[in-house]
Structure formats: C-alpha cells, structure tokens
C-alpha cells in the first residue's frame, strides 16, 4: 500500500518535471508578446489621449471613434481580423499580427487611463506653467505628465496584468506561447489536470512578479 503511494508520488513528480521542461521554452515568447504589445499600447494610448484632450476638433473625433470602436470589439475577433484578414494582404507573421492586435486593443483602454490621469491635474498647474513662460509641450513634459504618471501607475499595472493574460489569445493563431505549448503537451500525453494546473501557475507567477514590480515603482515615485 505504502509503496503504491510512493510510486504515484514519484510518477507525479516526474510528470511535473516533464511538463515544466516542455513549457519553459514558451515562456519567453509569452513575455515577449506581452512586453512588445504593452509598450506599443502605452505609446499609442498616450498619443490617442493627447488627441482627445487637444483643442483640435478633428483629433478629438478621431480619438473618440478609435476608443469606442476598439473597446467594443472582442480582442479575439480583432486578432482573427488582423491575422486572417489584414495579415493575408500585408503578409503578417503570427507574432507581428498578435502584437499589433493586442497593442491596438489595449491602447484604447490605456488612452482612457491617461486621459483620466491628465484631467486629474489641477488647473492651477497649467496657470503656473504658463505664467512662467512654458509652452504647451513644456508644460505637458515637465509638469503635467510627471504628475499624471503617478496617478495612473496602479490602473496601468492592472492593464499590464490583463495584457499578460490576454497574450494567451494569440495561441489561437498558432503562436507557440505558454497556452499553446500547454495544448500541445495535452494532445501528446492526454494529462489535463496537471498540465493546466502548471500553465495556470506559470501565469500566476508572472503576474505576481509584475504586480510586485508595479508596487515598487509606485513607492519609488511617491512624492514625499
């Protein structure tokens, strides 16, 4: 009886080891997709947010439509559209198509966060900057954005974590990231409990590290 239990435990440990070894190479791909997508999303999001608060009517309209459209369509559908639809015409690789789809979708959310952060800065800060002779760019660059950044770090890190998890959606177009690797392992060995448990753990570890890092940055930027 005891021998049988030990046997099962050893078998399980070996299986876990095998799964982890199988999954590890796919982790850098998940990280790459997430980092590239998110970096692009932040840059795009900032531009869209600045469009939205600018005084030029046409920029405001473009930005409003952009946000409303992209927020209203499921990311999965956007991935299909960009990879199978546009990708055919533009000859996009899976990786590029995935990154583009995620970054465009997330830029819509992130632009709203930026906008809220910028609008939260009191009007007096603009008055003071103007009265000191700063132009609009200088005011944004040195006064408004540095303060807005501090406000938006918590919601932005939320988006980052969501983005990391949503990177699993590009498995559907054949990108061999963590989730896809999990499915491949499953279809070879037919162990479902263990494989999805470990895939889940890997995501949990990555999101926990990201959250920890966000809190570190938040602390570091805190104004005394």
């Amino acid at each position: 009886m005891e021998n049988r239990i030990i046997d099962i435990i050893i078998k399980e440990i070996l299986l876990f080891y095998k799964i982890i070894k199988f999954l590890i190479p796919s982790i850098p791909i998940t990280i790459q997709i997430t980092l590239y997508s998110f970096l692009l999303a932040v840059i795009l999001g900032l531009i869209i947010a600045l469009f939205r608060i600018s005084y030029v009517k046409i920029f405001q309209i473009i930005s409003k439509i952009y946000v409303d459209v992209l927020r209203g369509i499921p990311l999965l559908v956007q991935i299909f559209f960009i990879y199978f639809g546009l990708g055919k015409i533009l000859k996009l690789e899976q990786f590029t198509a995935g990154v583009i789809a995620i970054s465009i979708c997330y830029s819509a959310y992130i632009s709203e966060i930026f906008r809220a952060g910028i609008l939260a800065i009191p009007k007096g800060q603009y008055d003071a900057s103007k009265s000191l002779g700063m132009n609009k760019y200088q005011t944004m660059r040195y006064v408004i954005l540095p303060q807005a950044i501090r406000i938006i770090i918590p919601p932005i890190s939320n988006e980052f974590i969501a983005c990391l998890k949503d990177s699993s959606l590009v498995s559907i177009i054949g990108m061999r990231e963590l989730t896809r690797a999990g499915r491949e392992f499953y279809s070879q060995y037919f162990v479902d409990f263990e494989i999805w448990f470990i895939v889940g753990m890997f995501y949990l570890i990555m999101t926990a590290i990201a959250a920890k890092f966000a809190r570190y940055i938040e602390k570091k930027l805190e104004i005394p």
Partner: protein, 240 residues
C-alpha cells in the same frame, strides 16, 4: 510700463470686466481692492495673458499683448497665485530651476545659484531639498515668489497672495513683498490686507462688478473716498 486700455471681458453673457483703463508706471505699486467677484483676479490674469479680453488693448513695455506675443511678454511678468500652484512632484529647488532652464535656457549651474539666491532672499535657503507638501502655506507662497523672481521679471503680479494663509503666515509673505517694494519692483497686487495696502501702494483701484469705481493715492482712497461704495467697502475692513 503697462497700460490697460478699455478692456472688456465676458464669460458667456456675463460681463466680468467693463471698460477698464489704467496705467502702471515703473516702480509703482498698484493695488486692486474690491469685493469678491469684482474682477480683480480676472484683471490680473488678463495682464499675464492667462485670460484674453474680448475688447481693448494691453500694452506691456510698448508691445501689444496678443496670442503671438504672449509667451515672450510673460518673461517680463512674474505671477503669484492665491493657491501657490507649486509643482508638487519637484523639490523647492527644482521648482525654481525648472522654468529658468526650460524657458530661458539658463545653464543649470547658474540657474541653481540664482535659485539659491532667491530662496535666501525669501528666507528659505534651508528648505531647498524639501517638497512643497512638506512646507507650511506661508513657506509655499514664499517659494512661489522666489520661483517667479528667478526669471528676473520687470513686473510682479500678486493675486491675493495671502488669502489662503493664517495671520502669522500672512505677515511673513507680506514681509517679502515689502522687501520687493523697497527694491523698486513694479507690482500689481490684489489684496484685502488694508494695512499693507495703505503702507506700500502708490495707487489704489477700487473695483466692483467689473468696473473701476474709484482710483487714487492711498491717502485719497483711505482718508477721502469720494464714492459711496468705496466708503462702505472700506468701513467693513476698518471695523475688523
């Protein structure tokens, strides 16, 4: 130095400044008094181009203030606000250095030296590494004054600089302002501190509902006010 010619400012249909005309000569201290909502703040903001009037001209040093010239003319004008408006994410020293380096392109080392000089002048040299939130209201306002002075303005505008402060802090800020008056700084001040006004002003303008009701020397306004409203307004302050 500054001449204001027939300016009108409307917000929607509300007229907040009506046919305002006056001049500020070099080394003069012009004080705007009047009840809240009389247009003092709007008038000061017009001089700095933060508000553009619908009608009338503002001429600074012979230059007409327009959207195009505003950024250049602002370099000659320092402004201090009721709510201080320091940059909370920068230290006291960085607050003062920023515009010098960014706007006037002063060398960072020189800017730092100027900033320290200005902080010494307002008596806050030891606070240079503090952040605004670590200062009292009076200290914040003195830093704000130092920040404006660091750009070497020819005119200083003060928009009720002590209204958000308790009496003790009020005196430290007024003290700094008196020093500036002695140095011959040209100033336009909105204030309710009547003792201070009486002491430093060369001209007092009484505003109500966006109109100049009466103007004159401190002696004329305080001792022999002509208009009924001026008398009533000053009575309230002298009772206090």
């Amino acid at each position: 130095m500054i001449s204001i010619e027939h300016i009108y400012k409307y917000y929607n249909n509300l007229c907040v400044l009506k046919d305002i005309t006056f001049t500020v000569n070099k080394a003069e201290v012009v004080v705007l008094i009047g009840p809240s909502g009389s247009g003092k703040t709007t008038l000061l903001r017009c001089i700095n181009g933060l508000v553009i009037p619908q009608k009338g001209n503002i001429i600074i040093d012979g230059n007409l203030l327009t959207k195009k010239t505003v950024n250049n003319l602002r370099k000659k004008i320092g402004m201090v606000f009721q709510e201080f408006n320091l940059f909370p994410h920068l230290t006291v020293l960085e607050n003062i250095i920023l515009a010098q380096v960014v706007v006037k392109k002063v060398n960072k080392k020189i800017a730092k030296q100027i900033s320290i000089d200005m902080l010494t002048k307002v008596g806050l040299k030891e606070k240079l590494d503090s952040y605004p939130n670590q200062l009292s209201g009076g200290q914040k306002q003195r830093v704000a004054i130092a920040r404006a002075l660091a750009l070497a303005p020819e005119v200083m505008l003060f928009d009720e600089p002590t209204s958000a402060l308790d009496p003790e802090m009020t005196n430290e800020v007024l003290g700094v302002m008196k020093t500036l008056v002695k140095e011959g700084m040209t100033m336009v001040v909105a204030s309710h501190e009547m003792d201070f006004v009486r002491e430093v002003s060369s001209k007092i303008i009484f505003l109500e509902n966006g109109e100049i009701i009466e103007e004159g020397s401190p002696k004329e306004i305080f001792s022999f006010p002509v208009h009924r409203r001026t008398k009533e307004f000053l009575c309230n302050y002298i009772k206090k």
